[in-house]
Every structure is written in structure tokens, then in C-alpha cells.
């Protein structure tokens, strides 16, 4: 009699309307793995953050899996830990596996504090998760898999780190492979991994230096598939910087322009605004971009230095102006609570952004995320924050608790007030998902 395949439930708690690209990658990679063929079957549960952990557990348990894998970020971690605990009590034999930026950098801590979690996948997940499934389906020990932290009896053991995947094209496209069906509100493409910046608060690069890109053939195929999907009129890119180089931007505009001519629009594209002039803005317009997202996160000199960021006001203004001339709405982000800032720096930043009238002004409270420079240096910087997810900052040496809350309420009201206008942006777009933490509404 043939052996029963390992049943794997992949679970994400997304912002309403979104599907998890991370789970799509994991599944597409594993399904293409010859050594897993016929030995593993998958079901994906794309749920939303407003679903009660009891109902998350209910859905997982009804699937009757052998393995439940969760994609964890700061905004859904508490709910996932709770769901794992319920699942463990109802079905102790289900192996619970977590991965994602919230747990990878603090894997041993997560296992130590959450008895209902069996395994944490650290770093880039595709290769590690596929190897883990192969090991689990063979009844072998999980903690021997590179990139995994797992239990060995009472001990918590971390296998060596796994090197990042060099050839990103070895990861099948979730869209082209049919693992994810593009939809109007939740479609986004990744063209490279990594970030050219190294901001102290951000885990976008996930601890991996340098930029690794998918091939242009792969990127073009993903774009063509997305733009040709029935019902999809807008989508986005998850890249940390869309205008990575001028040449790349022009190439992307060439690829996207035919779709733009058919009315396909791109929203909330993250750009380095200080490298945008009229030429670059025109390329973005040609690509069908209707809104972009950018910093400055702060205009305070001390906070910029502490964050490892640069900021040139004149270039920033020039970039915003060029984008506005091209008819592109600019979403400018500020972070409240950066080390080095005081309340007047934050107010100054808000006022300055208002003077630019970019389109959207959005602010969020700093989250001291696992794996970031700020997390490592929090004591030295005097950052008081919630050690549990979502790691919101409580107070800093420059901004006390009460003033922090005041600035949050002020910026929220400012966002509502600013948005209430007659010249609304051409497309009301959902924010793109982030790995560096959720944003408070201030748009």
C-alpha cells in the first residue's frame, strides 16, 4: 500500500484583501521539488488579521493537516501564537512551523516562550521549508536541517544558517505556476530581494547584504501574467526601491507601458524620491504608476544619523515636485519615536511635508523589530518598547510616553483632515504590505 502523503496547511493572517506572497513562494518551490513529488500535499489558508485565533484554529483543524506552517509578521504574531496553542491542545500531533521576519531573528526565544510551536524556519524560507518537509515526511529529525531551529526533546537546537538563494529564478513564480490567482486588490510582484539602504529600524533586507534580482525574462513574464489576469486593473510592486537604477527603471517602463496603455495602473510603488527628476517621473508615468510611497521618515538630523539614513531636503522637494507634475500622487511617510527625535522634530516633519502637499502624508509609531539594528542597540539608545509583538515604542529619551501618544493622535487627525479634499488621488489604492511593520492610518 502506498504511503499517505504529508498533509501541509499553509496559513497567513493578512491585511483584509491580501494574499500571502510568502506562502505562494513556499508552496510553488516545494511543489516543484522532485524529491517531494507525491510525498506532500498542500492547502493554503489566506485569512485576515481580524479573524479570531479560535476560528483560525478551527479552519486549520478542519483541514486535518500533519504540518501547519504560519507566515509570521509583527502585526499577526500574537494571534498566530494563540492559534498554535489551541491547535496543540486539540491535536497535539500536528507539527507547527513558523517562519517570517518576526520569528526568524529570534527563533530560540520564540520556541522557548511558545511551547505550542515546534519549529522555526530562519531567513529565506523556500529552500529550508522544502528540505524540512522532506525530512518530516521521512520521519527524520528537523533540527538537522540548515536554517531551522527546533526542539530535540527538552533542548532547543539551531542548525547552521542557510545561505540565501543565489538564483532567484529557481523559485517558481506563484502566479505563473497557478499557486496564486491574481486579484484586483491583492496582487504584487517582487523583482528583487534586498535593499540598497540599511536603515536601523527596518528588516527589509532580512539580514542579507546586497541585491539579488530575478531575471528580466522572469520579471517580464510575471508582469505580463499579472497585467493580463481577468479583472486585474491595478497592481503593485513589493520592491524596496522601484527606481533602483535609471536603466532598470527605463526597462520596467518599457515592459509596463503596453499594459498602461490598456489602462493597467500601478499603485504605492516605493521609490527613492531624491533620485527622481522630470525624466524619471515621466518613466514612472509611462509605466502606469499613479502613486508612489517614500520617506523621509524624519527630517531630524540626530534621528537621521541614528537611523543610518541620508536626507537632502532640496532633492526631496525636487523629486516630489517632479512626480506631482507627472500627475503621480506621493505618499510621504514619517516615523514617530525615532531615537534622536523630539516632539518638535516630528511636528516639524509633519509641517514640512504639508508644505509640499504631496498627496498623502502618513505616519506610524516606531516598532523595534527583531533583527534590526535598533533592536540590537535599544538599550544603548534608551528605547523603551513592547518586547512582545508588535514591538511598538513606548517612549524614547527624546519623546516621553504622553507626548508619544499626543503625536499619534495629532498625526491621525492630520491625516484625516488632509485626506478630506476635493482633488482626491486618481486611484484610491490599498497600502502595499510591509515587512518592516504596520503603519498607522494617517493618509
Amino acid at each position: 500500500m502506498a504511503e499517505e502523503p504529508l498533509k501541509v496547511a499553509l496559513v497567513a493572517l493578512n491585511r483584509p484583501g491580501y494574499q500571502s506572497l510568502a506562502l505562494g513562494y513556499l508552496r510553488a518551490y516545494a511543489e516543484a521539488n522532485e524529491r517531494l513529488r507525491g510525498r506532500v500535499v498542500f492547502q493554503t489558508l489566506d485569512l485576515t488579521t481580524d479573524v479570531d485565533p479560535w476560528w483560525v484554529a478551527y479552519r486549520v483543524l478542519r483541514m486535518g493537516p500533519d504540518v501547519a506552517g504560519f507566515s509570521v509578521s509583527c502585526w499577526n504574531a500574537r494571534a498566530i501564537y494563540a492559534a498554535c496553542s489551541i491547535i496543540r491542545n486539540a491535536r497535539p500531533d500536528i507539527v507547527t512551523v513558523l517562519g517570517g521576519p518576526e520569528v526568524g531573528p529570534v527563533a530560540e526565544e520564540v520556541l522557548s516562550e511558545n511551547p505550542a510551536v515546534d519549529i522555526v524556519v530562519r531567513g529565506e524560507g523556500e529552500e529550508t521549508f522544502a528540505e524540512l518537509l522532506r525530512v518530516l515526511s521521512s520521519g527524520k529529525r528537523a533540527w538537522m536541517v540548515e536554517g531551522v531551529t527546533a526542539r530535540d526533546g527538552e533542548r532547543i537546537v539551531s542548525a547552521p544558517d542557510r545561505a540565501p538563494i543565489e538564483d532567484l529564478d529557481s523559485i517558481p513564480s506563484p502566479y505563473l505556476s497557478g499557486v496564486i490567482t491574481p486579484s484586483e486588490t491583492s496582487s504584487y510582484i517582487e523583482t528583487f530581494r534586498g535593499c540598497p539602504h540599511a536603515c536601523g529600524y527596518c528588516f527589509e533586507a532580512k539580514g542579507v547584504a546586497g541585491i539579488r534580482s530575478f531575471s528580466r525574462e522572469r520579471i517580464q513574464a510575471d508582469i505580463d501574467a499579472m497585467a493580463s489576469s481577468p479583472g486585474v486593473r491595478t497592481f503593485s510592486f513589493i520592491d524596496s526601491v522601484f527606481n533602483l537604477t535609471g536603466e532598470r527603471l527605463s526597462w520596467l517602463a518599457d515592459v509596463l507601458e503596453p499594459h498602461a496603455r490598456r489602462g493597467i495602473r500601478l499603485h504605492t510603488i516605493e521609490v527613492d524620491v531624491e533620485r527622481i527628476g522630470d525624466g524619471e517621473a515621466e518613466e514612472l508615468r509611462r509605466a502606469g504608476v499613479v502613486s508612489v510611497e517614500t520617506g523621509p521618515q524624519t527630517i531630524g538630523a540626530k534621528a537621521l544619523e541614528a537611523s543610518g539614513r541620508t536626507f537632502h531636503a532640496d532633492r526631496f522637494v525636487a523629486g516630489v515636485s517632479a512626480l506631482k507634475r507627472a500627475g503621480i500622487s506621493v505618499e510621504c511617510d514619517l516615523i514617530i519615536g525615532l531615537p534622536g527625535d523630539d516632539p518638535f522634530d516630528v511636528i516639524g516633519g509633519l509641517r514640512w511635508l504639508l508644505s509640499l502637499d504631496p498627496g498623502i502624508v502618513q505616519s506610524s509609531t516606531l516598532r523595534v523589530l527583531p533583527g534590526t539594528d535598533f533592536s540590537a542597540r535599544s538599550e544603548e539608545m534608551g528605547l523603551m518598547y513592547d518586547p512582545k509583538p508588535d514591538h511598538s515604542v513606548i517612549q524614547t529619551p527624546g519623546i516621553g510616553f504622553a507626548d508619544m501618544r499626543r503625536l499619534e493622535v495629532l498625526s491621525n487627525d492630520l491625516g484625516i483632515s488632509y485626506r478630506a479634499r476635493l482633488d482626491r488621488p486618481a486611484v484610491q489604492s490599498p497600502s502595499r504590505p510591509r515587512s518592516s511593520g504596520d503603519r498607522a492610518q494617517v493618509s
Binding site: 499626543r406 487627525d413 478630506a420
Partner: protein
């Protein structure tokens, strides 16, 4: 923080405390004069996000040409249009819808107390509190139905008669749907030093209810611990120090009474030199009356 150019459409008709002043006869301004002022406000706008225009002076829904004035503001390019209104007329869903459709995205209502009894007595308008609350809710609901982004603010004239109810008044405004409240100290007989704790408590009541509170007419030195709520930090006002302050031992350090001082202060986004030490000094002996922070 957003600035609005205020264009009066009439005079002596705004809601105010009847125990402080009885008010004069309400007059309407000529439509062509108002239109010219709106056009000038839009044309001369140099304050970043805008141009933003607020129609003030009288209850706007009593102006027979309100629809024409709104249309004119939209035509000449106002990006944000605000009505300073008691919101009573907006209680009719069709009026709320028509107002939004015409281009109004901001309303600011005046509140004089946290209860119908106090507000109606001070405003001299029986049923006014209930009508305002109903109108605000209808406006917000109508905007939500049409997915139109709107902003609701409240304005509270601060005087001897409503001072001790300020925390509750802010809470009432927040519960009605206001995401910001402006407290304006206008009463020339109000003793600011003793009023300051109530103003601070009102600010905190706003914060715990998620509503931003700004205060006009109070100098930096009298806002210990709640300096961030002072309006002059966010937009130019006539003076960072109210004329109501009068001669004060702190004048040599707290020189905000000089017209124009606010411009230099606000442009630097910083409080005046030594202001924090003034605030610290003045704060000695300050404490909130027990139980005055409201809501949560």
C-alpha cells in the same frame, strides 16, 4: 495643523456664550463681496496644502446663497471647503448628501457644554445640543455611505461658564465624531492661571478619546506638560501669548505678545528659548482637580 482662510459670510451670528455677551444683530454679507473674498483667498494661498477656505461668521445654512457660495469656492479652486456650522441642518440626510456632493469636506461645530442642559443654556438655543449631535452623526454616516473622506472638528469658546466642563465637552465632541477640537480662550475675565489645569485636563480627555485638542489664547508658560497642544505650534496665530494675559512677571522671558513673534517661533518648530524652564517654574503648584480627565 492644516490652515484655512476664514471668509466671513455674515457677522455677529456665530454661536457663543450668551452669558458672556448677548451679541448684536446678525447681518449677512453681500454675495459678490464674499465671492470676491473667496477668490482672493484662493488666489493668494501660499501655505502649502490647500487652498483651504472656511465660511464663517454666521450659521451658514441661514445664508440664502450658501449653495452659490460653495459652488463658487469649488469653481475658483478651493481644495478643502469647511463650514463653521451648528450642523443642525445636516441632520436631514438629503441636506447632508447635497452638502457633500457640493464639495464640502470639512465641518466645524461649536460646543459650549457636555450636556444638552449646559450647552443649550449657554447658547440660548433650546434643543441645540441634540440637533448638533444628530447633524454631525448624519454627516459622518452620509460621508461613509458614499466613501467620501470628511473631517469633523469642534470649536469650544472657553469662558468662565464652561471652563469646568471642558473635559466633558471635549469628550462629547469626540463621541459625536470630531477628531479634533479647538479650545479658544476668549473671555477677558478668565483668570488664565487658574484655568490652565482645566485646559490641560481637556487636552488629556481628548487624547484618551483619540481626538486631538488645540488651544488658542494661552502662552507657552501656562501650559506645563501639555505644550504640544498650543495652537501656535501648528499655524500662525496673532500672538503666541494671549492679549488676555495682561502684565505678567514672566513677560521678560515669555515675550510672545509681540505681534509677529509667532511666525518666527513656528517657522523654527521650536518653543521660545527658556520656555520650557518657564513652564517648569509655573508648573510648580499646578495639578489637575481630581477626576477632571474624562472618558477613555
Amino acid at each position: 495643523m492644516l490652515h484655512f482662510a476664514e471668509v466671513p459670510i455674515g457677522r455677529a451670528g456665530a454661536l457663543h456664550c450668551r452669558r458672556c455677551t448677548t451679541g448684536g444683530g446678525e447681518t449677512l454679507r453681500d454675495v459678490s463681496d464674499v465671492a470676491a473674498d473667496i477668490a482672493a483667498a484662493v488666489r493668494d494661498w501660499d501655505d502649502g496644502a490647500g487652498p483651504n477656505v472656511s465660511l464663517t461668521g454666521i450659521e451658514p445654512f441661514r445664508h440664502p446663497a450658501l449653495a452659490d457660495l460653495i459652488a463658487e469656492a469649488v469653481r475658483v479652486g478651493a481644495v478643502r471647503l469647511r463650514l463653521d456650522t451648528d450642523c443642525a441642518a445636516l441632520g436631514a440626510p438629503e441636506t447632508a448628501r447635497a452638502t457633500i456632493d457640493a464639495g464640502v469636506r470639512h465641518v466645524r461645530f461649536t460646543l459650549l457644554g457636555s450636556t444638552p442642559e449646559l450647552h443649550d443654556a449657554l447658547a440660548g438655543v433650546p434643543g441645540g445640543f441634540a440637533a448638533t449631535m444628530h447633524g454631525v452623526r448624519t454627516f459622518v454616516e452620509t460621508a461613509a455611505e458614499t466613501e467620501t473622506p470628511v473631517h469633523v472638528a469642534a470649536r469650544v469658546p472657553v469662558c468662565r461658564h464652561d471652563l469646568h466642563d471642558l473635559p466633558g465637552t471635549v469628550t462629547a465632541a469626540a463621541r459625536a465624531g470630531a477628531t479634533s477640537v479647538l479650545l479658544v480662550v476668549e473671555d477677558t475675565d478668565l483668570e488664565l492661571r487658574s484655568a490652565a489645569p482645566w485646559l490641560g485636563a481637556a487636552c488629556d480627555s481628548g487624547i484618551v478619546n483619540g481626538t486631538w485638542v488645540e488651544v488658542e489664547g494661552v502662552p507657552y508658560g501656562l501650559a506645563p506638560g501639555w505644550e504640544l497642544h498650543l495652537a501656535w505650534l501648528y499655524r500662525p496665530v496673532a500672538s503666541m501669548k494671549s492679549a488676555l494675559c495682561g502684565p505678567c512677571p514672566l513677560d521678560p522671558m515669555c515675550s510672545g505678545a509681540v505681534p509677529g513673534a509667532a511666525d518666527s517661533v513656528t517657522s523654527a518648530f521650536r518653543p521660545p528659548v527658556d520656555a520650557r524652564s518657564i513652564a517648569d517654574a509655573v508648573s510648580r503648584g499646578f495639578s489637575y482637580p481630581e477626576g477632571v480627565v474624562s472618558g477613555g
